[in-house]
Amino acid sequence: MSVTVSIPTPLRSFTGGREAVELTGSTVGEVIDGLLATHGGLKRHLMQEDGRLRNFVNLYLNDTDIRHLDSTDTPVREGDVLTIVPSIAGGRPAVETKEELPKLSHAEVLRYSRHLLLPEVGVEGQRKLKAARVLTIGAGGLGSPLSLYLSAAGVGTIGIVDFDVVDLTNLQRQIVHGTSTLGRSKLESAKARLTDLNPNLNVESHESRLTAENALDIIREYDIVVDGTDNFPTRYLVNDACVLLGKPNVYGSIFRFEGQASVFYAKEGPCYRCLYSEPPPPGLVPSCAEGGVLGVLPGIIGSIQALETIKLIIGAGDSLIGRLVLFDALKLRFRELKLRKDPSCPICGDQPTIHELIDYEAFCGIGAAPAYQGPEVVAEQLKEERDEKGDDLVLIDVREPHEWEIAHIDGARLIPLGQLPDRIGELDGHAEIVTYCHKGVRSMKALEILRGAGFGKVRSLAGGVDAWASRIEPGMARY
């Protein structure tokens, strides 16, 4: 069939200025194929990459839009006229899209090219990252990997809250710091490393402890908060401040070989209090300083936090909102718990009772009714008494065997705290006993157990084996 294809003015430069082209074919599709075969330049303007018509290109067979017929399968007859008619569309960009976002320099395009290749990120996602303001609480185990990855990924502004100094025990896992920055403030150390990794990064340092007094003012200035803290009062503080300000809180925590991660965002799901309404009693959950942590573990959990942060910024994928991921490093197993918003949550529930920040130390029982307070002996005094009394002074190490392996005081006896109640019969009730642990917390609990069992002459080594190693036996290993 011979059909006339009528070419609109804007496309005539591709048909040598001709207003119409005569073609043959039995369907609209065949005619169009013929047109593109003879005038290849039209292809880019008429077809999508998948070979279908672009959505603003309309084809009229005589007077009917082919979408109302059989589309490109519509048969054509001799003498039909096929007209290409444009839909004219456009419009200013929506408010918070690309035109409002910072532009990428040529160097940035190159730096982020592996991101730009991902349709889920692309130029727009990268510009969102550049515009983003993320606050990380803590530049420690979790703060290290997450701040490194966020910086490398091109997050424009990273705020860091920390007040600590880089210490040798940090370097086993806090990879944003280094041997060369030992003794320097963690903020200074982290800033140097992060801006070396990405000079486009703007680091905002908040050298203070996050408190109920400053939390709202600091957090208000950021889009997303990433919680890398290691203690319960700060965790509840971060949660409450984020709920009150309507910010997402990317949560992670680690202990020994296990970690957790989630995104708490009260606008769209549960908050930390929906999961843990009450903090554990003080001392029940040991900190990493007391219990230890595998150095790679914060690398994994902190990377998950960085990942979730980036997903929130670019709006890709399924976020961890409403899900808690549990990671067991020894078994190499991830588990996932569904979290639900608690309607009776005191801060994000139906009838909240918390409308402002509270005293989080008191809430977590810290500083309030102290745990058992028994008599203590300082390291120097213990040394003197041991020199004098020898084996008459019984020294009991209540730590775990692996800690004993690292270092212990010569002549001491190992009875881990957990075994003490069952092994109390091994001890002489009349002997003079000194208990010790790593830093003096567990040994005080041991004291409580011994006192309760009727032991009279028991004391605890203040500051634990750590104090002993630093002041009495400088050659002893510390951890």
Binding site: S87, I88, G90, G91, A94
Partner: protein, 143 residues
């Protein structure tokens, strides 16, 4: 390539943008092509914005366009381009504008700031790449 348009018609576009504010207005630039590559706008044909779901988008439907083209032809005119307003946004093409642009046509954008029509600029699609090029605009004061 220059788009020539009278100051009076530009003013008419601004007023159209103001009346549509905070939504976008759109319309057709009807005129002649003298042959030296320039385009001359003779009159405007306001079009119905068929996009009602989003105030920051405009769409001129093909049926409207065909009808308009027939009317213009009767007067010896043709569609040389389109105009639309950018409420509270510069008169530069958005990604969406570029993505939907046809070659050859002039796309005249007028900024409407706080309900007041401001500067106008014209753009055409690059022959080779999916970008819009600035087109010189010659505003003719009417005699």
């Amino acid at each position: 390539m220059t788009l020539r348009i009278s100051e009076g018609l530009l003013e008419e576009i601004r007023r159209h943008g103001e009346s549509a504010y905070p939504a976008e207005c759109c319309g057709v630039l009807a005129g002649r092509v003298p042959g030296n590559g320039d385009k001359e706008v003779v009159r405007l044909a306001p079009a119905v914005n068929r996009r009602t779901d989003d105030p920051h988008r405009y769409l001129i439907a093909p049926d409207d366009l065909r009808r308009l083209e027939t009317d213009l032809r009767a007067d010896g005119l043709e569609i040389v381009g389109y105009y639309h307003s950018h409420p509270d946004h510069p008169a530069v093409p958005s990604g969406f504008d570029t993505e939907h642009a046809w070659p050859w046509y002039s796309y005249l954008i007028v900024r409407v700031e706080d309900g007041r029509g401001r500067e106008a600029a014209s753009w055409t699609l690059d022959d080779e790449r999916p970008v819009m090029r600035f087109e010189s605009l010659e505003a003719l004061s009417e005699v």
